[in-house]
Amino acid sequence: MTAAPLLEVRNLRVEFPTRRGTLVALHDVSFSIAPGEILGVVGESGAGKSMTGAAIIRLLEPPGRIAGGQILLEGRRIDNLSQDEMRRIRGRRIGAIFQDPLTTLNPLYTVGRQLTETMQTHLDLSNSEARKRAIDWLEMVGIPAAAQRIDSYPHEFSGGMRQRVVIALALCAEPRLVVADEPTTALDVSIQAQVIALLKRLAREKNTSMMLVTHDMGVIAETADRVAVMYAGRVVEIGPVREVVKHPHHPYSIGLMNSIPPLDHRVERLAQIDGAMPRLNAVPPGCPYNPRCPKVFDRCIVERPDLLDAGSTSAACWLYDRAEAPHV
């Protein structure tokens, strides 16, 4: 990547202090996102995808806290800002889209009021300018008859329309980065296609960067430029979308991609990864994937791999340690 990254996450560590000791939810998570780039984040539920997004926008559920590492937005650290300073950055420079539109929208206010208030908090706009822009945004996200619908309440919209309003809200202050956590999971395929097309168009037209969290690999394939695969609180593989989806290197990514049911033909038995991802308090020593890994060897049991150069991607797997690996 030639351009300076818009977002850089370096060795991020997130901990949850509990009565029975400290749970480490994220270990050493590092990645960057270039301007206008969409980074997809995939992995089983509990892998730490949402946690990573929440740490970036500083909406970790207490008692969760950032216990190490750095987060840089346009070269400036934001992980050490006060909650007040962070509040200004959220909305203005980082927008957030969550899975359930109802948690983001206020049922008591019209969608127009929510849009104009958000814009006026962050941008210097008169009332009439803000209202005009709110209508433009509703049109841009594909709400028919926006000028008439602007004074409607959220419950008067269908699920798909509400999610589009949430997108308009996240984008209307023209943030540089959007963190979207499962933005289409609650939607039907038909509406999902509309929302994805919209996110892609806006990323392109406004040069907005995006971190797109989802467990839907189809959505990732058509939307993301690069993909990070997470497992047990770590990034285990990262690389260009085509490589990670079509030619993954990490044994977990390979298992994950193989378990996707094919759309274009029927198979007798789907490939599956046996077992389950370990809980945070029971992650094995060595490589966290070692109990499920078909390629496990001695070193994996005792020593944990960091991201290594695996050719077209980086993978946290000893198979790619040039010096030592037995041949794949």
Partner: protein, 353 residues
């Protein structure tokens, strides 16, 4: 007859809900009653040992059909027949209830959190008096847990100690404990990750093969449906608009809605490409559009479509497909005015590259 016996049959099944406001308010504002036609006259049958899947957008009535199929909702019209016996009449018959079970989407909500797994699994065994004596019952529970890929030792734990996929295994073990012949599965893998979904689908296919089970399977994920179904019914606003062998639906879908749905699927072959969204919103089942319910979103709609309701009948050209569409009947569904191209669907990655 050499055909396998029919296990389940829906005959013009319909279920309406009255969603009117309270009578007084309605009278004051002179509002008419509001009737929501969740399911509006659908018919299909499922031969023994096979899977019929229902697909369609949210709110089209899939779960309502599922609930009628196991007798949880009485139909407003039509009949649900289990081995030829009307469920509504036989609702009291314990043996029928024993032989049909339902698996739900949310493995969290459908298990009693205060019961140990072994009691959850044993509950139908007790209720139907299937096994006599505590020792025999414990043995049967251990066998069921093993059958779904859990350990008999898991029986002493509580549901919260399990992951989503493991909880879905527990619900399957419970459903199997009454030795059913017919399982109605409403989005059984939709709440699960792909890797866990593959485990559950493999389990369900194995159980069908080993136990000769018959499935009514509901999902909005077409790739999943392709893996598990023998036949597929595509629903739109409470009706079946296309009913055909599974492979036929994927290789040569006929109804304009089915074709649009196929084009809207995200797909790994789509790297960098754009899907064609189905335009417009799903209309309301309270005031469905006149004539063909799909006409406001259909590229082939004409005056007849706005006026006249199409009936489900064998499609011109592919008679093994049942389809409800005037354009198909009139032969208007191919040629220059037809719906967007379909090459991608059913083609292998090699040919679509």
């Amino acid at each position: 007859m050499s055909e396998p016996a029919t296990v389940f049959e829906a005959e013009d099944l319909a279920r309406y809900f009255d969603v009117s406001r309270p009578a007084l308010q309605r009278l004051l504002s002179r509002e008419p009653r509001r009737i929501l036609r969740a399911v509006d006259g659908i018919s299909f049958s499922i031969p023994k040992g096979t899977t019929l899947s229902l697909v369609g957008e949210s709110g089209c009535g899939k779960s309502t059909v599922a609930r009628m199929a196991v007798g949880l909702y009485p139909p407003t019209r039509g009949r649900a027949l289990f081995e030829g016996v009307d469920l509504d009449r036989a609702r009291a018959a314990a043996d029928q209830r024993r032989r049909m079970q339902m698996i739900f989407q949310d493995p969290y909500a459908s298990l009693n959190p205060r019961w140990r797994v072994r009691d959850i699994v044993a509950e139908p065994i007790r209720a139907f008096g299937l096994v006599q004596g505590g020792a025999a019952r414990r043995e049967r529970v251990a066998q069921l847990l093993t059958q779904v890929g859990l350990s008999p030792l898991d029986g002493t734990k509580y549901p919260h100690e399990f992951s989503g996929g493991q909880r879905q295994r527990i619900s399957i073990a419970r459903a199997l404990s009454s030795n059913p012949d017919f399982l109605v599965c409403d989005e059984p893998t939709s709440a699960l990750d792909v890797s866990v979904q593959a485990q559950i689908l493999n389990l369900m296919k194995g159980l069908q093969r080993d136990l000769g089970l018959t499935y009514l399977f509901i999902s909005h994920n077409l790739a999943v449906v392709r893996q598990i179904s023998d036949r597929i019914g595509v629903m739109y606003l409470g009706r079946i608009v296309e009913l055909a062998p599974a492979e036929t639906v994927f290789v040569s879908p006929r109804h304009p809605y089915t074709r649009a749905l196929m084009d809207a699927i995200p797909d790994l072959e789509m790297i960098g490409r754009r899907r064609i969204p189905v335009g417009g919103e799903v209309p309301s089942p309270i005031n469905p559009p006149s004539g063909c319910h799909f006409h406001p979103r259909c590229p082939l709609a004409n005056d007849r479509c706005r006026r006249e309701d199409p009936v489900l009948k064998p499609a011109r050209g592919t008679p093994q497909t049942m389809v409800a569409c005037h354009a198909v009947e009139e032969g208007r569904d191919t040629g220059p005015t037809a719906v967007p191209p379909l090459e991608r669907v059913g083609s292998s990655p090699a040919t679509s590259a």
